[in-house]
């Protein structure tokens, strides 16, 4: 089944315009790493040069926010991850 990762409209051009991608992994970080292997162009949009989550990117697992120091949390097969890139337009 795998983990479905959802991307906001802003990041879809970096992943062949896909809204969601299914990946495998037992932790949130593992899922993100596997996503970035499939779509390397996403890497610079999500992580900084030191491999840390950008401060303007938020990650949600099973619909709940997880902070950068919580990415090693386990995730269950069938759950979802949402990657949010900040938007500020009005």
């Amino acid at each position: 089944m795998g983990i479905t990762v959802y991307l906001p409209a802003y990041l879809r051009p970096y992943a062949d315009d896909k809204e969601s991608i299914t990946v495998q992994g037992s932790t949130i970080k593992e899922c993100l790493d596997n996503l970035l292997k499939l779509y390397p162009a996403l890497n610079k949009m999500v992580f900084d040069q030191d491999g840390e989550l950008h401060t303007y990117v938020s990650i949600f697992a099973a619909n709940e926010i997880v902070y950068s120091d919580q990415l090693d949390k386990p995730i269950k097969d069938g759950e979802t991850i949402h990657i949010l890139y900040v938007i500020g337009g009005g």
Binding site: H54, T55, N63, I65, G88, G90
Partner: protein
């Protein structure tokens, strides 16, 4: 106390279960700040004025430009070159003569934010940039004034209500800012999000319904779906970690 004219004008919302004349009186006495008089601020201001919010302060330092008119429905061709708050005041006052519109033609800064929002009941975040959103979020949290965040990009919009000391704030959601860039937007996106912000403001003031606290609502117009995500208070949040009720 409502006048007979007001009872007639607001009859359709007074008759909403749980709203009543008491709810309308609360709106009449309420003071709402709308920070930004553009894409989000236009629908938010129009619906709050129509609903009978007694005092609406609109803050913006910009002048109306041609490129604003695809989405900023308070401003029309004839307003190009005019201050947005002057244009907004004219339309809102014509929509509802019984309410008070306060136009503030100023740039919101870290120094004046607290003064601009002090004494108000609710703040609508209808800004077009992140640095000022963070300034207002911080000031709102410090003064304990509920803050309704909204933002748009293209056909995507996000909205979340912040009740200081009780729910996650904007800084709990995002801790930093990407490089600034021009954002694309279809006018219907801020129409959707600004209307939700106005709905949240009415609920906050009247005490009806369940607020979008600790809940980020995402509107995806391209796929026409709404997603709700849970945002918990960040223990070491720079803006709200020291607020009571944690």
């Amino acid at each position: 106390m409502l006048t007979s004219d007001e009872r007639n004008r607001y009859d359709r919302q007074i008759s909403i279960p749980g709203f009543g004349e008491q709810g309308q009186e609360k709106l009449k006495l309420a003071k709402v700040v709308i920070a930004g008089c553009g894409g989000l601020g236009s629908p938010a201001a129009i619906y709050l004025a129509a609903a009978g919010v007694g005092t609406i302060r609109i803050i913006d330092h910009d002048k109306v430009e041609l490129s604003n008119l695809n989405r900023q429905v308070l401003h029309w061709d004839k307003d190009i070159g005019r201050s947005k708050v002057g244009s907004g005041q004219e339309k809102l006052s014509q929509l509802n003569k019984n309410i008070h519109i306060e136009p503030i033609n100023k740039t919101i800064t870290g120094k004046n934010a607290g003064t601009l929002i002090a004494g108000f009941n609710v703040i609508i975040d209808a800004l077009d940039n992140l640095p000022t959103r963070f300034i207002i979020n911080k000031a709102a949290v410090e003064l304990g004034i509920p803050f309704i965040h909204g933002a748009v990009y293209g056909l995507e919009g996000r909205v979340m209500t912040v009740v200081p000391g009780k729910s996650a704030c904007l800084r709990c959601l995002y801790q930093g800012m990407p490089p600034p860039e021009k954002f694309p937007v279809l006018g219907t996106t801020p129409a959707v999000i600004g209307s939700i912000q106005a709905t949240e403001a009415v609920k906050l003031i009247t005490g009806i319904g369940k607020l979008l606290t600790n809940r980020l609502l995402i509107y995806d117009g391209l796929n026409m779906k709404f997603t709700e995500l849970t945002v918990n208070r960040k223990k070491d949040c720079e803006h709200c970690a020291n607020q009571a009720g944690k």
